[in-house]
Subunit: 222 residues, 2 copies
């Protein structure tokens, strides 16, 4: 099933009725753009997606990388328009829930709204973390934290937390972390020389999680 919302089985069939199944996007394809009318909430089934916002003069800030089980489009609820754009990083399969039916549906399934609020609350918390990162951390800390964050998300989905493939480019990572592409490369090299990680292009192994956490100045990734 598509939406990891912890609903009762009864509610599920109701929900199924508004979920349009299995849209697929190829690498580079847009799911939606900023300013588009709010049509759907998206849930990622497989693959990965980046979301971004931009200034009028064209500078872009990537605001998140999203993998299986995560929801997209929530910030459109307030205004009826998407505020960000979402683009597939690889072949990606999603479910979509029609926005219009969402109100109507929420009346019937109170727990749905509650779950969605929880998800949005979690999103706000995550955004606060990213602000802390962008405003207060050094480039090394950012990258170490980034790798550990990915690691934990993969772990939560029963993928290897120490070996994974980055679906985003160095440029995307740098943009997301507020540092230059070249700085990303240099620091990855530094980490590699220090024996913290091994990289080969987009494949990464985390070798010394404890020391990586020390660099990130976080608690060790339990």
């Amino acid at each position: 099933m598509c939406l990891p919302l912890g609903l009762h089985a009864v509610d599920m069939t109701l929900l199924e009725s508004v979920v349009k199944r299995k849209e697929t996007y190829k690498r580079g394809q847009l799911l939606f753009r900023a300013g588009d009318r709010f049509d759907f909430i998206y849930a990622i089934r497989s693959g990965s997606v980046k979301t971004s916002v931009s200034t009028l003069d064209g500078r872009v800030q990537i605001t998140g990388f999203h993998i299986a089980g995560e929801l997209l489009g929530l910030s459109a609820l307030a205004s009826g328009q998407y505020s960000n754009e979402a683009r597939a990083l690889e072949t990606t399969s999603v479910c979509r829930v029609e926005a219009e039916r969402l109100d109507e549906l929420a009346q019937k399934i109170p727990s749905l709204q509650y779950q969605m609020m929880k998800i949005m609350s979690g999103q706000i918390r995550q955004d606060e973390e990213l602000m802390l990162l962008l405003g207060r951390r050094t480039a090394e800390e950012r990258l170490a934290e980034y790798l550990l964050g990915l690691s934990m998300r993969f772990a939560a989905r029963n993928y290897s937390p120490t070996q994974f493939r980055l679906t985003m480019s160095r440029g995307d990572i740098g943009n997301y972390l507020g540092i230059a592409e070249e700085t990303v490369c240099r620091i990855l090299t530094r980490f590699q020389n220090a024996g913290l990680i091994a990289t080969k292009r987009r494949d990464v192994s985390l070798i010394d999680l404890r020391q990586l956490a020390a660099v990130a100045r976080m608690a060790p990734a339990a």
Copy 2:
């Protein structure tokens, strides 16, 4: 009334029953801290509040300044604990809604949950903007945008959009914008010399909104 949620009159009386009225905080007092059990949603009646998150080693990032009509504590919903801390910048009066009664209440007033979702959705959007600011803008742009943002919020509340008092210190502003306190001062001086603003300590007048918007690289503040 305290909560600007656009509810029906019928619902209002219900809501009143869970709203504890009129708590007041003095400058510097804490409303809640990160890690505290999630007790209340706060709505600001008057005054102003800063919210912040911190790293384990004590670095702080201010994530917002909040004025009358705004809600605090929403990000605690997901985990049952506040993720940030909130501190009064001046004498501040708030209403509090008990978190426990919120679930129960939401069942009775479907539109309440919907309104709260809209507010949270708006918060996510605002956070995205701040990320864009922290990740991609120069110090001058940040400060110009900051002043214009305040201006718009005051305008929306029928206060003067061109003359207001900053309730936060230069240090707070710098922290929020991800720049040093000294840089805030220098740039304010630069703006003043260029005839964009006038400052006297915490009192600010915006003189040339159009040019300020040009510096911020935003659309003119309609």
